[in-house]
C-alpha cells in the first residue's frame, strides 16, 4: 500500500491541509472537484515527490502536444527503445490495442486533437509503473477510444495489479470503472481544502 501524506508547509499557498491518501495496488481512483480547486496542482506536487515515493509512477498531463518539426510517434518510440528499453512496457501491444498503427508514421502536428491525446496516452502507459496519474485522459476521445481506455484500465488493474489515479469529470467513468473517488472540496469560509472519500 502506498501512503501519500501532503505536507502542510508545501500546500499552504494552495490552501491544502494535512491529509492522507491511501492507494492500494490494482485499483482505479478518481479525483473529482470543481474547476480550479487544485487537482492538477496536486499531480504536479506528486511529480516533485515521485523520487521519495517507492512506487514507480507515470504521468499524463493535460497540455496539448506541440512538438517541433515533423516528429511522429514512431521516432519517439525509437528513442525510447534505444535509451529506456528496461522501462518500456509492451508498446506494440498498446499501439494495436488503441488502433494507432496507421498513425504511427504521421507527424504529430498533423494529427487531430483526439489522435494527439491517444498518442499521449500510449506514451504514458508505455512506461513501466505501479501508479499511473492521468489528468483528464478522456478529453477529445471519441466513444470507441473512450471505451478502449476503460477496457485497458480494467484489464491492467485486474491482471497486472496496476493502480490508476484519474482526474476526470465523467460521471459514467466514475460509476463504471472507479473503485474510489477522492473529492477535492473547499472548506466553508476559509482558503483550505480537504480530501474526503
Amino acid at each position: 500500500m502506498l501512503n501519500i501524506k501532503n505536507e502542510k508547509t508545501i500546500f499552504m499557498q494552495h490552501g491544502l491541509l494535512d491529509c492522507l491518501l491511501e492507494i492500494d495496488s490494482g485499483k482505479v481512483y478518481a479525483i473529482w472537484g470543481a474547476n480550479g480547486i487544485g487537482k492538477s496542482t496536486f499531480f504536479s506536487y506528486l511529480k516533485t515527490r515521485s523520487k521519495d515515493i517507492s512506487w514507480g509512477m507515470s504521468f499524463l498531463e493535460q497540455a496539448e502536444l506541440r512538438p517541433l518539426g515533423a516528429v511522429s510517434l514512431h521516432h519517439i518510440i525509437k528513442v525510447l527503445r534505444k535509451k529506456h528499453e528496461e522501462e518500456l512496457e509492451d508498446i506494440d501491444y498498446l499501439i494495436d490495442f488503441f488502433n494507432f498503427g496507421s498513425l504511427l508514421q504521421r507527424p504529430i502536428n498533423f494529427l487531430s486533437g483526439g489522435q494527439k491525446q491517444l498518442a499521449k496516452i500510449i506514451l504514458c502507459l508505455a512506461k513501466k509503473a505501479q501508479l499511473y496519474c492521468l489528468d483528464e485522459p478522456f478529453n477529445n476521445l471519441d466513444e470507441e477510444k473512450e471505451s478502449r481506455l476503460y477496457q485497458y484500465l480494467q484489464e491492467a488493474r485486474q491482471h497486472q495489479q496496476k493502480s490508476f489515479l484519474v482526474i476526470d469529470h465523467n460521471r459514467y467513468f466514475l460509476e463504471s470503472v472507479v473503485d474510489q473517488v477522492f473529492y477535492f472540496r473547499k472548506k466553508d469560509g476559509s482558503d483550505s481544502y480537504f480530501l474526503g472519500a
Binding site: 511529480k47 507515470s58 504521468f59 498531463e61 493535460q62 497540455a63 496539448e64 502536444l65 506541440r66 512538438p67 517541433l68 518539426g69 515533423a70 516528429v71 511522429s72 521516432h75 519517439i76 528513442v79 525510447l80 534505444k82 535509451k83 529506456h84 522501462e87 507527424p107 504529430i108 499521449k120 506514451l123 504514458c124 512506461k127
Partner: protein, 304 residues
C-alpha cells in the same frame, strides 16, 4: 618539410575558410539547441538576447580597458568573463530550481513568446548602447570595435580560427551526446520529464553550450544576427532533417558550415562598389526578413 611549413603559415593556410565553416556549424548547433529546449521555432541566440548579452561584455571591457589601461588581449578576457558570469548565473538559477517556461498550457506558450519579446527588446537596447558608446569613443579618438555588430572573417588567423574549430568540434560532440534527451524535450517537456529526463538540467546545459559557441564567435569575429534562427528552419525544410534532431545536429550543422563558408566566399569575391559586404550584415538582413515572415505565418496559423 619546407612545403608543409609554408602551407601552415598564417597567411597561406585558408584559416578564413575554416573559421567560416566552424562559425556556420556553431550557429546551426546553437539554434537547434535553443529551439529544441524551448519547443519554439522563434527562439534563437539573437531573439533570446544571448548575442546582445555577449556584446554588452565586449563593450564594457573595451570601456574598462580604456579607463584602466589594461594591456591584456581583450577578446580572450571578454570571452572568459562572459563564460564565467554565465556559469555563475546558471548555477544561481540551478540552485533556485528555475528553468525556461516551456509548459504547454496556453499561458506557458505565452511565457516563451514573452521571453522572445524581451530578448528582442534587449537586442534593441544593446544596439542603442553600442551606438552611444561608439559615438562616445569616436569623440575621444579612442579605438572602438565598430565592426563587432556585423561580423566578418577578414581578420582570420590561426590564433582565432583554430580555437573556433576546436569549439565547433566540442559543441558538435556535446550536442550529439544530448541528442536523445533533446529529441524528447523537443517533442514534449512533460513526456521527457516523465521518462526521467531532467528538463531543467538539459535546458541549462543547452543554453550554456549555445552561449559558449556564440561567445567565441562574437568575441573574435563579431555578431552574425539571426543565423541561429534561420539555419534550423532551413534544415527542417528538408525532409531528411525534419523528424530526427540527431540528423539536424550531426549532418545539418556540417551542411550549415558549408553554406556559411560559401556565403563568406561569395561576399569576398562579389564586391559592392569595391567593398566587401560583411557576412554578419547579410545574415542580419536575411534573418530579420525571415523572422517577419515567420511571425506572419504563425499569426495566420493561429487564426485558422
Amino acid at each position: 618539410m619546407d612545403q608543409i611549413l609554408t602551407f601552415l603559415e598564417p597567411n597561406f593556410f585558408p584559416w578564413r575558410l575554416l573559421a567560416a565553416a566552424a562559425a556556420g556549424m556553431i550557429l546551426s548547433l546553437s539554434g537547434s539547441l535553443v529551439q529544441s529546449i524551448t519547443q519554439n521555432d522563434l527562439a534563437g541566440p539573437s531573439t533570446l538576447g544571448i548575442n546582445a548579452f555577449i556584446v554588452l561584455f565586449v563593450i564594457a571591457l573595451h570601456f574598462a580597458s580604456r579607463l584602466l589601461a589594461l594591456p591584456l588581449p581583450l577578446e580572450w578576457l571578454s570571452l572568459i568573463l562572459c563564460c564565467a558570469v554565465t556559469v555563475l548565473l546558471l548555477f544561481f538559477f540551478w540552485r533556485r530550481n528555475c528553468g525556461v517556461a516551456v509548459r504547454h498550457s496556453a499561458f506557458g506558450q505565452t511565457n516563451m513568446d514573452f521571453l522572445i519579446l524581451v530578448g528582442l527588446c534587449f537586442n534593441l537596447f544593446v544596439g542603442a548602447l553600442f551606438s552611444l558608446f561608439e559615438f562616445f569613443f569616436m569623440s575621444l579618438n579612442w579605438e572602438f570595435p565598430s565592426e563587432l555588430w556585423y561580423g566578418n572573417f577578414r581578420l582570420s588567423l590561426m590564433s582565432n580560427s583554430l580555437p573556433l574549430v576546436i569549439v565547433a568540434i566540442f559543441l558538435w560532440g556535446a550536442a550529439l551526446k544530448m541528442a536523445p534527451r533533446l529529441q524528447l524535450m523537443s517533442f514534449s517537456s512533460h513526456l521527457a520529464e516523465n521518462w526521467g529526463v531532467n528538463g531543467k538540467r538539459v535546458q541549462l546545459q543547452a543554453i550554456l553550450l549555445a552561449l559558449l559557441g556564440q561567445a567565441f564567435i562574437i568575441n573574435f569575429f563579431g555578431v552574425f544576427s539571426f543565423a541561429g534562427l534561420i539555419f534550423p528552419h532551413l534544415l527542417r525544410s528538408i525532409s531528411f532533417f525534419q523528424s530526427e534532431i540527431k540528423r539536424e545536429l550531426l549532418w545539418g550543422s556540417l551542411l550549415c558550415g558549408i553554406i556559411f563558408l560559401l556565403l563568406d566566399f561569395a561576399c569576398t569575391h562579389i564586391l559592392i562598389l569595391g567593398a566587401e559586404v560583411p557576412v554578419g550584415m547579410l545574415s542580419s538582413f536575411l534573418g530579420t526578413s525571415f523572422l517577419f515572415i515567420l511571425l506572419i505565418n504563425r499569426y495566420r496559423r493561429r487564426q485558422q
